[in-house]
């Protein structure tokens, strides 16, 4: 899976306070914890199965990118997931302190992660926060969600 460079966000775009913030070591087994947290969110919001599945898949891809690519050479670092519920949308930010998003010729994946995320989310932005941490910001439309 290859991470590609794209537009860079400014700090002002990340202003709202998240409803859920999850910080954990960027390890493969911890991606399951993120999926379970999203499952709880889907339960409370009474999301339909397809919508929740899309959100979980997109966020899983973004988290897996962090685990596989953010910290090379066996280094360990944090994986941060923030979910903010808006009036009409849900924004999920996956953040790391790695070296940023760039093409990798030796990537172990097929390079399908970001295109998959882009196809599942209404909007995707790749960039950095004010502390220069790498972010993948995904927005999912609430109009696609079932009434709680």
């Amino acid at each position: 899976m290859t991470r590609e460079a794209s537009d860079v966000m400014t700090a002002t775009e990340a202003a709202s306070t998240p409803d859920i913030e999850l910080l954990l070591p960027a390890r493969a087994e911890n991606v399951a914890i993120v999926r379970h947290a999203l499952g709880a969110l889907g339960e409370v919001l009474a999301l339909d199965e397809q919508t929740l599945s899309d959100i979980r898949l997109a966020v899983t891809e973004a988290c897996t990118n962090v685990v596989v690519h953010a910290y090379p050479n066996g280094e360990e670092g944090p994986l941060e997931v923030l979910a903010t519920l808006g009036e009409e949308d849900l924004t999920v930010v996956v953040r790391d302190e790695g070296g940023g998003i760039s093409p990798r010729r030796d990537s172990p994946g097929l390079g399908l992660g970001l295109p998959l995320i882009a196809s599942l989310a209404e909007n995707v932005q790749l960039g950095h926060d004010a502390q220069k941490r790498t972010e993948v910001r995904m927005t999912f439309l609430l109009s696609a969600l079932a009434e709680p």
Binding site: T17, P18, E21
Partner: protein
Amino acid sequence: MTEEMRSETSLRLANGPLAGPVLCRVVSMVLARADCPVDRLDDALLACEEIATHGPGFVADGHLSVTLRTGRDRLELRVGELTEQGAEGMLSAAIVPGVGNVLERVSDELRVEPGRDGGVGELVLRIGFRTAGAGSGDGRAA
């Protein structure tokens, strides 16, 4: 990343309906991975429900912060960003008539510590357990 951080999961939850379900799901997953027996998992979830129910009334900024640390035989829950006397308030709120204090009953150790980031205080619960392969017993660590 320190050794302590390697087994640490931090959650910061806005007050509201998401807090309880998200906290319980995350704790379930963390404890399942730690091979925690189901009776102590139930106890931990009971503690989480108490924290999610009463915590919002005692947090400083509208967000409940919970840090989870697992060891070989224990889960440590640190509930933070509490108001002054917030820890004491949470403990009082956890008293159920005829049962006693739920947080005290399910914890092997319960204490109040100063906040790590200069905050007023953290409520720290230690829930011990014997892993599935560690032989018989009542599930509580010494």
